[in-house]
Structures are given as structure tokens and as C-alpha cells.
């Protein structure tokens, strides 16, 4: 991400996401900034912070302060605090056998960002992916609150399968993913075939491989997308079987066009993920 203003927006959307995934409402935020103030133009920092503030305003969150240090590399993140009723906290691993899994954003931002570094991405796609990463998970979280949800997490650096593995670890469940139903950025599949895959995707695979089996029909490029580290990815929601179709329709009606049912949760203590 080269544009400092959008960098700020995406960082803020990413930081707010955890609160949404827990079913909460974010209220306040603190900036955490590292910046090479001696060698870099301060207007860049101002644009980053402005991006963050604008995204917080979208989310109805107040910036109440922060901390900054001098560093060689730019870093920007936020510490966010939110409210939730203690009985309504959504955990990651309180999965229920028979539930369906729903994903709200397409995968592939890590691969597309690698392709951007390689200068192989059209401006149009670059803009599309920037908007996707800067989109808050607020609307998805607001819609899912009306349904019977057992667990939820947000998909970020560990990729879809890494975060799903976190969900089933410590539960008595296993998961199945229908790879053909998983929403992906179409161009990302082409970039993956060309080897424009971030190192993080390989690390994610190596770390969770022992829990995961792929049917022989799942193409290698789709496997890469399932491990692709996401920046400000979507929510991964475990919803009761009977509510699943209604949840997906409600998400789509609410403007979350890529929302899709991608698999289900089964009763099995093996804690494994099977992808067909």
C-alpha cells in the first residue's frame, strides 16, 4: 500500500475488526505510531493519521490519544476498546456441530498485494482491493447479531484456514470447506499460478498442514488462496443450519455482495479441516 491516506484507513479497519468479530461495538481508540521523522516528510504521517481518523469516524469511534516513536520503518496501528454485554460475547471456538460457515469478504488480498509490489496489477484492480481492505466489518457484524451465531472470528494474517484452525482448536468439532463456494478475488488465482504468493502463505500452510486434508480435486492455486494472509479480511461466522440461508441473503441485501456459505462444522474430536 503506497498511498498513506488509504494505508491509515486500512490499518484502522483492521484494528476495529476484532471488536466486530466478538459481536461488540467499538467506542474509543489510541493511535500507535512509529515514524522516521528525521528522514521522511511529516506530511506523510499526517495523511496516515487522517486516514485512520476518517475510518474511526465512519465507525463512530473516538480517538482519545496515542503514542508515537521514532523508528526506521513506518508502523501504524490502533488499540481499540469496545462495549459488549457479557452474555453476548462471541468466542472463536464455541462452535456447534451442524452449524454452517459463512465468509463475508473474498480471499486474495495478500496475493494481490504481492502482485502490486511486482507492478503487475491494473489500477482498477488495485483500487478495488484497496476499497475491500478499507471496508469495515461493522455492517456484517450488525446483520449477524439478528441470527443464531455460535462463534465468529475475523480473517487476517493466518489466512482463512489458519483462523478456522484456531476456531476448531479447543472445540470438539471439525470443519469442512467446499472450496468451490469460497469467495475469491478472481485475478488472485492467476497471480498465484505465476508464483506471486507472499511468504506468509507458505508459513501459514506449514504451520497448519497437519490439521488439513485437501481432496485431490482442489487446485493448488485455490489451496494457496485459502492460506493467503489477509489484510482486514472478512468475518468467518458459524451460524445455525436453519439460519444460514437467511443470514447470507441478509448480508447480500446489506451490500455485502461476496458473502457466501463455505462449509460446515461436524461433531468430531479430531480437530481437523477437510477441503473438498
Amino acid at each position: 500500500m503506497d498511498d498513506p491516506y488509504w494505508f491509515g484507513q486500512i490499518a484502522a479497519a483492521n484494528a476495529l475488526s476484532d471488536i466486530y468479530a466478538m459481536g461488540g461495538t467499538p467506542k474509543t481508540a489510541l493511535n500507535l505510531v512509529a515514524f522516521p521523522a528525521r528522514t521522511m516528510d511529516m506530511s506523510i504521517l499526517r495523511q496516515i493519521i487522517q486516514g485512520g481518523i476518517d475510518k474511526l469516524r465512519d465507525a463512530g469511534v473516538v480517538l482519545i490519544g496515542g503514542h508515537s516513536i521514532e523508528d526506521k520503518e513506518i508502523k501504524y496501528g490502533l488499540s481499540v476498546t469496545g462495549f459488549i454485554h457479557p452474555e453476548r460475547v462471541l468466542a472463536k471456538n464455541s462452535l456447534r456441530p451442524g452449524d454452517r460457515l459463512v465468509l463475508t469478504k473474498p480471499l486474495g488480498t495478500g496475493i494481490v498485494n504481492t502482485a502490486i509490489k511486482a507492478a503487475m496489477v491494473s489500477e482498477q484492480l488495485s483500487e478495488k482491493v484497496t476499497l475491500l481492505m478499507a471496508t469495515l466489518n461493522r455492517e456484517a457484524a450488525r446483520i449477524m447479531a439478528d441470527f443464531n451465531i455460535s462463534a465468529c472470528t475475523d480473517v487476517t494474517g493466518f489466512g482463512l484456514l489458519g483462523h478456522l484452525a484456531e476456531m476448531i482448536s479447543g472445540s470438539d468439532c471439525s470443519a469442512r470447506i467446499v472450496s468451490g463456494n469460497v469467495p475469491v478475488i478472481p485475478e488472485a488465482e492467476e497471480f498465484a499460478a505465476m508464483g506471486l504468493i507472499p511468504a506468509g502463505a507458505y508459513k501459514n500452510r506449514e504451520f497448519r498442514e497437519h490439521m488439513i486434508t485437501f481432496a485431490e480435486t482442489v487446485p493448488r492455486t485455490i489451496q494457496d488462496l485459502l492460506f493467503d494472509p489477509q489484510t482486514s479480511g472478512g468475518l468467518l461466522i458459524s451460524v445455525s443450519n436453519v439460519h444460514c440461508a437467511d443470514l447470507v441473503s441478509a448480508l447480500k441485501a446489506g451490500g455485502i455482495a461476496d458473502a457466501a456459505q463455505i462449509g460446515d462444522i461436524i461433531d468430531s474430536r479430531e480437530e481437523r479441516i477437510r477441503i473438498v
Partner: protein, 198 residues
């Protein structure tokens, strides 16, 4: 042979260097030296997507990816290779242990004959699924049990409905195939090019 030293570079730079080298000149063989596993896999994939055959060598803690192609393969494999073979995928679903209505003795005989003749489909026979009364064909005493075992040993995937086995209380009697569920069956239908229901 063109040699590229991409050590000390992180993704996607090794792929980019390889790409630039190929743009400068259409090398027939080239060697890319890399010091991390992710870039090694990425360079290998990039070369394969450009129609190269690749081999990997370990040089100390580094990797050397060697790509080679002749102009024939280059022309043929420019587009991204298809993940699937060209053979059609036929799924056969048996919801009964006999074919048709009328005479049951004849119906059972026809089913045995049908399952034995299925092998004529060759490689295109991709999944054989048993549901409802059909699951009885996979249990002890089935006349086609040995035939199904041969299919399975030859690589055909046989799926047997777990709910159905449970319903008839014959879960333990199943001798061939994988116990399955409706999601797997629906997925198989989606992936198949043709579904035949019996």
C-alpha cells in the same frame, strides 16, 4: 544457461528478476539461486506457468531452481495449465439395490449386471454413490461386493451414505467404500460433469 542470483531477496523480487530476464531474452534454460523456501516455490511456479520444466537442487542452505524448455512446449503451455485432466467426470448414484419395477428377481440381476458393466466407462467413471436401499450392495453378502472392491482398488471413489447405513442398522456390515454424508454427495454432484441416477 542464464544464471540469476536472487539470494537476499524476498517475494516477489526473485520472480520479478526471473520475469525480467525472460523478457530480455527468451532463454531456453536458466538457473535461479534463492535462499528461502517461499521464493523457491514461487520461482518454480512462475517458470512452470511460462511452459518450463523445472528441477530443484540444494546448494548448501540455498536452492537452485533450474528451468528448461524447448520451443514446442513453450507454445503449447503458455496459458496457465488446467488443474483438471480433460477426461469427463461421471458420477453414478444408486438409490436402490435393483433396477426398475416389476420382477424383483430380474431387477436384482440387472443391477448386478449394471455394476459389473460400469467399468466400460473407463477413466470417466469418477464417483459411485450408494444411498437408501443401494447401500446394501456394499455390505456382507452382496453379490457385487468383490466387483466393487476391485473398482475401489483401481482408484474409483465409492461413497456410501452413513445415514442410510445407520437407518438399516448395517453400519458395521459395510465392506467397501467411504461412509459419507449429504454435503459430500451434493459437492460431488456439483463437481461432476454428468450425474447418472439409478
Amino acid at each position: 544457461m542464464k544464471e540469476i542470483d536472487a539470494r537476499g531477496l524476498a517475494c516477489p523480487l526473485p520472480v520479478l528478476q526471473t520475469k525480467v530476464a525472460l523478457q530480455e531474452e527468451s532463454y531456453k534454460t536458466l538457473k535461479v539461486i534463492i535462499d528461502n523456501a517461499a521464493s523457491q516455490q514461487n520461482v518454480q511456479r512462475f517458470l512452470e506457468s511460462r511452459g518450463f520444466q523445472t528441477a530443484l537442487e540444494h546448494v548448501g542452505s540455498d536452492y537452485a531452481v533450474i528451468g528448461s524448455c524447448d520451443s514446442m512446449t513453450l507454445e503449447q503451455s503458455r496459458p496457465v495449465p488446467k488443474p483438471f485432466s480433460d477426461a469427463r467426470k461421471i458420477m453414478v448414484m444408486c438409490a436402490t439395490d435393483r433396477i426398475g419395477f416389476g420382477d424383483d428377481v430380474l431387477g436384482i440381476k440387472l443391477m448386478v449386471n449394471f455394476l459389473r458393466t460400469l467399468k466400460e466407462m473407463g477413466d470417466e467413471l469418477w464417483r459411485l454413490v450408494f444411498v437408501n436401499n443401494g447401500v446394501k450392495l456394499t455390505t456382507d453378502g452382496s453379490e457385487v461386493l468383490e466387483d466393487l472392491k476391485v473398482y475401489e482398488s483401481e482408484g474409483l471413489k465409492i461413497l456410501v451414505c452413513g445415514t442410510c447405513l445407520d437407518h438399516f442398522n448395517i453400519l458395521e456390515k459395510k465392506q467397501v467404500g467411504e461412509t459419507t454424508n449429504m454435503l459430500d454427495i451434493v459437492t460431488a454432484m456439483q463437481l461432476a460433469d454428468k450425474v447418472i441416477n439409478i
